[in-house]
């Protein structure tokens, strides 16, 4: 299996980044959770764009080189996904700010106590 993984090392890196993003999502601090969400998303993007890669390929622009192009479909999907990701981040940060104004903390455990009072 190690030999097959050497031709798929970028996928392995993508999985590692996803795992790290998941780890940061488990943090106590709400803002770090949002950073972790972003890292998680970028790991998924890395996976997708790597799937579209082609050895010896050129960027999918017809005016640049004419050789075999990398697949443009993952690029399109990821462009949309990045913008949606930043929208989610912005609204989440607004909610974090609202939570801080109401309860005075951004740590998850303190927040839990404060809500149960």
């Amino acid at each position: 299996m190690i030999e097959t993984l050497t031709t798929r090392y970028t996928y392995v890196v993508a999985v590692i980044v996803i795992a790290i993003g998941l780890y940061v999502l488990f943090d106590r601090n709400l803002i770090k959770k949002i950073v972790g969400l972003n890292i998680f998303q970028t790991g998924v993007f890395l996976f997708f764009v790597t799937a579209g890669y082609r050895t010896g390929g050129t960027p999918p622009i017809a005016s640049a080189g004419g050789g075999p192009y990398v697949s443009p479909l993952p690029h399109v999907l990821i462009l949309t996904a990045i913008v949606v990701g930043v929208s989610v981040t912005a609204v989440s940060l607004g909610m974090v700010f609202l939570l801080y104004e109401t309860y005075g903390t951004v740590q998850e455990d303190e927040l839990r106590e404060a809500i149960h009072e």
Partner: protein, 361 residues
């Protein structure tokens, strides 16, 4: 061989910065390392021959997200500012199991870059071969985004628009609107600040927190901002020919306005770019895309079917206009994010300064 070394170095740096973001306890330092991670990721995108994605990642990830995160940290709390690293071993064990589990499924995928992989066979080759001729646009990613999959892009424009509205609705609960604080005396009570200057009309010409704008900064920004805005418009317009497009161009134009806000103060910038202009830009972008779509239906075609318009090169112009609409909406919404989260530099109740740190328990 050197390409492989470059690739491995960048991927290694990617994992390193992501891991550092995970173990640093201080949330502000973690955010800064996240910005570095985002920049390294942009380089990785270039290496994977994805220039559009690289542009978007650099503009959005290292730009907008970092500014919003730092603004939120400034206005909430920063539980610790010690440069400590800590690892939560139970969480690490869980994600380790998760990662190993997924990695064992990887050999079932085709090798990276394999030309015989299914992704290069069916629909991809159709787009690559017919898109330039059929749509008149060289950037195949833009052609797919704005023509073949235009409905998805329309949905995404609506999502961005909805996120801006959602953020305003959420923040309205705590009394924050887009209107800047109209008082000229700052809410911070730090006596060490310079007094604000007022001009004869009684309006203060200060930046937030009652500081005079620096002459160096304002002069430099006065000269730089036109070029940055022009570059943003270039990216948006030229996205049909080269890498780029509406999103990236919109974010860069928004960045130029943010530059103005940093130099001259958010209140002055909001006086210049008031609610009417922001609403017009944002809603106008969405309305333009909808109008183009409904116009096609009015002429007997389907929604966003450019070919029914009776002008020559209808698809090319349709793509360009839709990209401009996207750019306008993205500009407006990024500015809404910025002004809503960064503006209103009042200190939250119960603290003495925005940089107050508390010791975590």
């Amino acid at each position: 061989m050197s390409a492989l070394a470059l690739e491995l170095t960048l991927l290694g740096l990617l994992v390193l910065t992501a891991a550092l973001t995970a173990v640093i306890r201080d949330v502000l330092a973690a955010t800064v390392v996240f910005a570095v991670y985002s920049l390294v990721l942009s380089l990785v995108w270039i290496l994977l021959r994805a220039p559009d994605v690289a542009l978007t990642e650099a503009a959005v990830g290292a730009g907008v997200v970092t500014v919003l995160l730092v603004a939120t940290i400034a206005k909430t709390s920063r539980p610790t500012d010690h440069a400590e690293l800590s690892v939560r071993w139970p969480s690490l064990a869980v994600i380790g199991v998760f990662a190993v589990g997924i990695v064992t499924t990887l050999p079932s995928l085709p090798a990276i870059g394999d030309p015989t992989a299914p992704i290069h066979q069916h629909l991809g080759t159709y787009y690559l071969e017919t898109a330039p001729a059929e749509t008149g646009v060289s950037n195949i990613v833009t052609a797919i985004l704005a023509a073949y999959r235009a409905f998805d892009t329309f949905g995404e424009v609506v999502v961005v628009f909805g996120a801006g509205i959602g953020l305003l609705v959420v923040l309205r609960q705590s009394g924050i609107t887009l209107q800047p604080t109209t008082g000229s005396t700052p809410s911070t009570t730090d006596p060490g600040l310079e007094p604000s200057t007022t001009d004869p009309h009684g309006e203060s010409s200060t930046t937030d927190l009652g500081r005079e704008p620096s002459v160096i900064t304002t002069t430099a920004i006065r000269y730089i901002v036109p070029f940055v805005a022009l570059f943003g418009l270039y990216i948006a317009f030229h996205g049909a020919k080269t890498a780029g497009g509406g999103f990236q161009g919109g974010v860069v134009v928004a960045a130029s306005v943010v530059l103005v806000a940093f130099g001259f103060g958010i209140e002055s910038t909001r006086r210049w770019l008031n609610d009417t202009v922001l609403t017009a830009i944002t809603a106008g972008g969405v309305a333009a895309v909808v109008a183009i779509g409904l116009g096609a239906m009015a002429l007997g075609g389907r929604f966003l079917e450019y070919t029914v318009y009776p002008i020559p090169k209808a698809t090319t112009y349709g793509i360009e206009l839709v990209e401009l609409g996207i750019g306008a909406t993205v500009t407006g919404i990024v500015l809404v994010f910025f002004f809503a989260l960064v503006g209103n530099a009042e200190t939250p109740p119960g603290e003495s300064s925005p940089t107050h740190t508390e010791e975590s328990k």
